[in-house]
Symmetry: C2
Subunit: 397 residues, 2 copies
Amino acid sequence: MISNKNILIAQGGGPTNVINMSLVSIIKEEKKLKSLVMGSLNGVNGIINNRFRNLNKISDNDLKLISQTPGAALGSTRDKPDSKYCLEIFKILKKKKISKFYYIGGNDSSDSLRIISEHSKKIGYDLQCIHIPKTIDNDLVSNDHTPGFGSAAKYVAQLFSGINYDVKSLPGVYIGVVMGRHAGFLTASSALLKKRDEDGPHLIYIPEVAFSISKFLDKIKKIYNKYGKCVVAVSEGIQDENNKLISQKIIKSSEYDAHGNVQLSGTGSLGDFLSKQIKLKLKLPRVRADTLGYPQRCFLGSTSEVDQKEAYKIGVFATKFSNKNNNSFSAGILERKSFTKIYKAQFFANSLNDVAGKTKVMKSDFYNKKLSNISKEFLNYALPLIGKDIIKTKSII
Amino acid sequence: MISNKNILIAQGGGPTNVINMSLVSIIKEEKKLKSLVMGSLNGVNGIINNRFRNLNKISDNDLKLISQTPGAALGSTRDKPDSKYCLEIFKILKKKKISKFYYIGGNDSSDSLRIISEHSKKIGYDLQCIHIPKTIDNDLVSNDHTPGFGSAAKYVAQLFSGINYDVKSLPGVYIGVVMGRHAGFLTASSALLKKRDEDGPHLIYIPEVAFSISKFLDKIKKIYNKYGKCVVAVSEGIQDENNKLISQKIIKSSEYDAHGNVQLSGTGSLGDFLSKQIKLKLKLPRVRADTLGYPQRCFLGSTSEVDQKEAYKIGVFATKFSNKNNNSFSAGILERKSFTKIYKAQFFANSLNDVAGKTKVMKSDFYNKKLSNISKEFLNYALPLIGKDIIKTKSII
């Protein structure tokens, strides 16, 4: 079925290592349907500022290069449309006769798309809105996991595996602060390549479980006494028992984005606060804190081949599904019933309302509260997603 | 020539991705000479605490695994021996009849070895002291470069290459704080995979050139106005015109190691200070600072194949040279006269005194002060060291 439609693609939110895989798969599939494929620069912001590109014109070779590149090739945005913003959007969409809009993004972008979709119904403009998930945070509801997570998880797992050897060499306490505003999936991934009990990370702190500084210190002391070292993975989003962010209690950051998210990354203050507490109260030597920051979502060479393929396939699925059905939807990855080492993603369509702006957190049986560490269940869940292509130093002897 | 000697190997200072390559090559070569090969744990500290391992017993397969592993397999130390410490050392060395001591480490470890070597002469104990260089800082005098640097440089280059795409997606100012106490080699390596002028890093700040916050802000403003974004690589060791560390001016860290080095890594304060200045004075949106921290010296999957081979070969050279000559020495990599894309390391012996405790900094023609960026000369110098095996996302389309 040839569609001949005018379609629009855009990317929103924090980019990932594989967000361009989805972009390229949609372009390629829509070209097969003889669509006029446009892209707006910097997400919805590019619509109201009339910054469009004709994506049909990109050569196959350039599409290939784009697919291999981290970051959002069309640029991204944190804009959240209100009614006035929507009026502007539809002024342009009408002019360009756009009838299908793919928005590749996370929770916030799906919420932007929901707002746009509702506005289209209100004004009687026929626009099929399709959300393509991506987020390294892995916190989209009704999805087994999200494209982008596997590659970020691979980076974090590889990083902690190296840190384990570094801290073994010069023993002390090491804290790595990991991205993840509300969900601990990425922080939990720090343990995916851990081999022995004595290896780090010895402790993992996620936003889902109330953080107590005194219990944190007690556990570090115990681990240090046992192994002479302690490696800790801490989510940037850890909260106290009243759901107040620890990072907000210690800094007075006034930077919020349009979706109401406070800036957590790009500052070392949480790690510095925690290491200062350990130095002061436990008097341990060599306490170091690194905030892993933005490389988590864009490091060259840590793409998971599984993640990459899924990011491509979800675009193919969404294009085919949208050509058979006219409704708006959010492309999804079907949730597993049980977790085994062998797993293959299955794609399906979620209702946009079910996903938009909602946040999924870790299942309670993914985490062992008593040990402050992940469970075997989480290992089985996450290991297939980082792929088997873990880069190690080759042997030359 | 079979030596049949009792020899000792140890590792000191901050570990690298390839420090175990040198360890393994020495073990293998000394085994050929029928030596009894011992290792002390945690450098010189393991000598005085009588913590030794028989390294002849390690299987070939385990040696292979060790060679591929980041970190110091024998453990490391920051201890600097004084006369009392030396007395303890020689008590043990005599008992174990050790006549050759290989110490794999950087400036500080070579200085420890110099002290031990001088003490041996004073007391008339025949000990051949051999320094095997390693340091990601690349700041050893009389050496073209040091094993460990190439792999760290590759990690930093790959990281900034990814960051470039991330900041392109969500424009703003990004600061990455890079390791390097006195020398800017590693910070300068942030630009090794840069392709176009518009790509980051747009600005690079090294310890060798006096840092002025007002000029720094001016340049960021200019770049931001030109490209709508600005990526900056800043060395943790940047200093003002009076050679005072910027990081020391802003924090009151009281942690010094035995060699008199103040703690610079493992805290985000320098990056946070700089980003605060940009936010306050330039009022630019999305200012982020990451402190790259310890992954720079241990990230799995960023080993340079060139670095790896050199770290192995320098051990082979040192063993062979030491078997022909009885003097103490520091194994070295001969300095190049000119810099071309094709380069192969040549090994030679430095006198221990010439290297020990001294610090090499960047040649002035490696850096363009006006642009606050590296020169083509540096590119030609450093590119061969990171190797050609840069991991990119493979194409699946």
